[in-house]
């Protein structure tokens, strides 16, 4: 019993002392959230983000779900609202779901940005855009068309069937196919669930179920090496792979020739620019109506309305991939 009483007394004291915590800090606090943390794509964005944070002398909070749990992103944003930060920047997993809580953050005076994947426009101040879904779809379709000579069959390996980004890209891809490449046929879309082995096995099966397929398009970063390895092991030199992936994953297969091209953007710069933009919005230097913003080592970056544009999708090929390390 005595132990219990001592425990209670100690807790009350600590509570009293601790309830005071809540005062602000010097310097800005910028909170960045990836879609999920165990992902090398976001790990590379983080290095850029931390670089910018050090340059600008702001405090960077980096947190997010460890698995793709649709509800967790909301909870993290709620925690940041409670905690009090100067700006929040989210790579959105679920557009409609996150917008509710982002609006709440804005109502509390916190500056809100999205990066990598957007929320609803009225839920954020700016979207740091590396490439529009339409732009990504056009680039990918262009590569497939080049490899197929404008007609033929191809298949897609996606992330998970519910992944919002990939589903948006697929929608745009189908639209682009209908408009520009009516002689190309997308025969199937198989999920990899972000597992390289699964992408490998699905590609192996695809090659046999649809022997007329000549291009495999892998639109999730673990799927690119998985699909490429499957095509390589099958010995089907008439099949090529393209897709969306990190240059370090793509490099060996680009050199081999199995992987024709990997589309992405400079993830480090994306993280870097996001922190720069968030800090600028929070301190008021980036305001509506601006047409460009100074972004440290990136120079003057274009601003179009409420979008901060990093650039267009970049294609890694065997000739340029060695210049990159992420």
């Amino acid at each position: 019993m005595k132990t219990a009483w001592r425990g209670w007394a100690l807790s009350v004291l600590v509570l009293a002392a601790g309830a005071c915590r809540g005062a602000g800090e010097h310097g800005q606090t910028i909170a960045l959230m990836p879609k999920n943390k165990g992902n090398p794509y976001f790990a590379s964005c983080r290095t850029g983000a931390e670089e910018a944070a050090k340059e600008l002398k702001v405090r960077l909070l980096w947190d997010g779900p460890t698995e793709t749990d649709p509800a967790k992103q909301n909870e993290v944003v709620e925690a940041w609202i409670t905690r009090g930060v100067d700006a929040i920047a989210v790579s959105v997993e679920n557009k409609e779901a996150i917008s509710t809580v982002l609006r709440k953050a804005r109502a509390r005076g916190i500056k809100v940005l999205t990066w990598d994947a957007d929320a609803e426009p009225d839920a954020r101040d700016y979207f740091v855009n590396q490439a529009t879904p339409r732009g990504i779809a056009e680039t990918l379709a262009g590569h497939a068309a080049r490899l197929l000579g404008g007609k033929g069959e191809f298949a897609v390996i996606t992330a998970s069937l519910t992944a919002a980004n990939q589903n948006e890209w697929l929608r745009q891809l189908r639209a682009v196919l209908a408009e520009r490449y009516p002689d190309m046929k997308l025969v199937d879309v198989r999920p990899s669930d972000d597992d390289r082995k699964r992408a490998f096995e699905e590609t192996q099966t695809l090659l046999k179920v649809h022997p007329e397929v000549r291009v495999i398009m892998a639109i999730a970063s673990p799927a690119v090496p998985g699909a490429a390895e499957a095509v390589k092991q099958s010995g089907r030199s008439d099949v090529r792979v393209t897709g969306l992936g990190l240059p370090n994953d793509a490099r060996p297969y680009l050199k081999d020739g199995v992987l024709d091209s990997a589309v992405l953007w400079n993830t480090k710069d994306l993280g870097y620019l996001t922190v720069q933009a968030a800090s600028a919005v929070a301190s008021g230097t980036l305001k509506p109506g601006a047409s460009s913003m100074p972004a440290g080592r990136l120079g003057a970056v274009k601003v179009e309305g409420d979008q901060v544009i990093l650039g267009t999708p970049f294609t890694f090929t065997k000739d340029n991939v060695d210049q990159f390390n992420f």
Partner: protein
């Protein structure tokens, strides 16, 4: 009891498997290309190896849901050791040893402290995976020496050796389970630990042993899976434990312990390994895959319950 009755479970799984194969012959004969059969077997090999361990665990009336996390860690260890310049046999041994050590962790908590296996392995599953994520942030182990893929044996030998090795492991375990005292001890512990103890079996040692074996076999499974590629994904093995448990259970091993066989587990592994690609060959859409697999599991266990003369007890 007739042979058919004692092996009723294995026979019904076998029959289900044959039915699936027959459907493929009729509706998707393309499935039977040599390349496809080989790929299915290579893909099934890690699951078979782990299923051997899981059969032992479940026979001993335990369970291990942490093998997915163990898988990921062992794969990363194999890759890291290879990258550090160590010879492949050493990297392989490292993976197995890591698995055994992780299995021993479970074993100490369950056998040593008497804590329930399902909760212990739930805790280790979460703890291990989150720790791995924290340390690596999901970054893959890359730039491995060329001898890593296929253990340097080349693609053709590798693709033959991987299922071959899995089958050898399975065969040895099947023989041992039947003919070695240790094997009988596993069955005895699972049937009734108290009676087993009275007959001279040491249940706590048996339980510890099956968890260590499970861990080592998971390490082997991770190795067999990892050497098919040129780098190691740190987030691998998610959902692996469910695949393995489903295969063992569908194969007839009773979750109540003491009943089941490795023949059944082999059939279970083959059935589920075939079902995935079979659905694609038969033209099913990807988004119905999970529902169909759930149905297969339920059908397998329900059919057994329907046919059973005595009801399974509602709890062990």
């Amino acid at each position: 009891m007739s042979v058919a009755a004692t092996h009723r479970r294995e026979l019904s799984v076998g029959a289900a498997y044959l039915a699936l194969l027959a459907a493929l012959v009729l509706f998707a004969p393309a499935f039977y290309q040599r390349a496809n059969l080989r790929d299915v077997l290579v893909g099934a090999a890690p699951v078979l190896v782990a299923a051997v361990g899981m059969t032992l665990v479940i026979l001993a009336r335990q369970i291990d849901i942490s093998i997915g996390s163990q898988f990921a860690i062992c794969a990363v260890v194999a890759g890291t050791l290879a990258k550090a310049g160590l010879a492949m046999p050493i990297a392989a041994a490292g993976a197995l040893a890591t698995g055994a050590a992780l299995g021993a962790l479970n074993g100490v908590l369950v056998a040593g402290f008497g804590l329930p296996a399902i909760v212990v392995t739930l805790a280790t599953m979460v703890g291990l995976r989150e720790t791995l994520r924290w340390l690596t942030e999901g970054v893959w182990v890359r730039d491995l020496p060329p001898g890593f893929q296929w253990m340097g044996l080349g693609q053709d030998t590798g693709r033959f050796a991987i299922p071959g090795l899995a089958l050898v492991v399975w065969a040895f375990a099947a023989w041992g389970l039947r003919h070695l005292a240790a094997g009988r001890a596993v069955y005895a512990t699972g049937s009734d630990a108290e009676v087993a103890r009275l007959t001279g079996v040491r249940p706590r040692r048996v339980v510890f042993g099956v968890f260590v074996a499970m861990g080592a076999l998971t390490g082997l499974a991770a190795l067999l899976s990892a050497i098919q590629f040129i780098d190691v994904q740190t987030g691998s093995g998610v959902g692996f434990e469910l695949r393995v448990i489903a295969a063992v259970v569908v194969g007839g091993t009773s979750i109540a312990g003491g009943r089941g066989s490795l023949v059944g587990s082999l059939l279970g592994v083959l059935l589920l390994a075939t079902a995935g690609p079979a659905l694609t060959f038969l033209g099913s859409q990807a988004y119905w895959d999970r529902a169909l697999q759930g149905l297969i599991i339920l059908a397998a266990v329900a059919a057994d319950a329907f046919g059973s003369a005595t009801r399974w007890r509602a709890r062990p």
